[in-house]
Amino acid sequence: MRVGLLGRKVGMTQIFEADGTAVPITVLECGPCTVLQVRTEERDGYHALQLGFADKKRKSATQAERGHARRVDAEPKRYVREIRQDGPSDVAEGQTLTVEVFGAIPRVDVIGTSKGRGYSGVVKRHGFKGLRASHGVKRMHRHPGSSGPSADPAHTRKGIRKPGQYGNARITARNLKVVRVDPTNNLLLVRGAVPGPNGGFLTVRQTNKV
């Protein structure tokens, strides 16, 4: 079974190892997740587990969401995602998965939505250096400069980095080390940063990076 769970980012801090090394960690509140549906090859064309995390008020759920949750005797969920599986799994619909599933997993991928930065210029969005502060530069200090050659090819090449919407996109932080699993508080501690704001919803799965 490919292990995965849904959760929420709590925040970042640091903890110490026995030898005094400080480890930067992100605290994730992971699970418990209800298995809302099991996707199978025969019916759906692929294997996956559909998980739900965090209850939604019944009155703010649609009729369809309520019906889908009722099928497995659960409340409608705020965050529903699928975890792809390689083959048929032994997990049944309606079952609850907790953070303990990560007990033997050394590394995970964390998928989330990055913080939205709106319509951003090239300095923020692509790390351009901008133009000089003096020596004749006039009101162009954070501009991209040239976007390509002139008469030949007479147009801007495709793929040139430009200003535009930055952030608020699906981001996968891959191969993060699992530092600690805390089943009493449903916490998963991973080394390093994960996408999104504190309190943002996340999908955590066993890494597919080898």
Partner: protein, 161 residues
């Protein structure tokens, strides 16, 4: 938002009790050092000139003068490598960061002593001063004796020749 969860994690990495010390205190920081297989404790003595951060991220900066050169080390309060922090002397200071000490040298670096349990009675202050004087005198005497001994030895060797 989910502060109680954060609390639980940070609590797990914090020491149960940390010795109380203030900005301006002269402290001995006991640092665990690994030398090959063996562990020993090294003491770094100096004045606490700054504290920063909270919880597991709390740090403090200690400044001392080594051979006329200022040396500063910054330690994490909750690091397991810090075995102990012993307050040797409390300094009377009026700000939270003593970065101005970096621009001072010699006698100007000294801080006035503070007596943590309220104001020092004149008698106490006098006693402390007397003790410091006695220490200084003792050190001077020891130095003088050592010098005299060295001189005598030198004279003896000359005589032998």
């Amino acid at each position: 938002m989910q502060n109680h969860l954060m609390e639980a994690v940070e609590q797990s990495s914090m020491k149960a009790s940390v010795p109380k010390f203030e900005i301006g205190d002269t402290v001995d920081v006991h640092v665990r050092i690994l030398e090959g297989e063996k562990e020993r404790i090294q003491i770094f003595n100096g004045v606490v000139i700054a504290k920063s951060g909270t919880k597991t991220r709390e740090m403090f900066t200690v400044r001392r003068i080594v051979q006329g050169e200022g040396v500063e080390r910054k330690f994490p309060v909750h690091s397991p490598r810090i075995a102990d922090i012993v307050v040797k002397r409390s300094g009377k200071v009026r700000r939270a960061k003593l970065y101005y000490l970096r621009n001072l040298s010699g006698k100007a670096v000294r801080l006035k002593e503070r007596f943590p349990a309220g104001k020092a009675t004149p008698a106490e202050a006098k006693a402390a001063k007397a003790e410091r004087r006695a220490q200084k005198a003792a050190a001077k005497k020891a130095r003088a004796e050592a010098a005299a001994e060295a001189k005598a030895e030198a004279a003896a060797t000359v005589k032998e020749e």
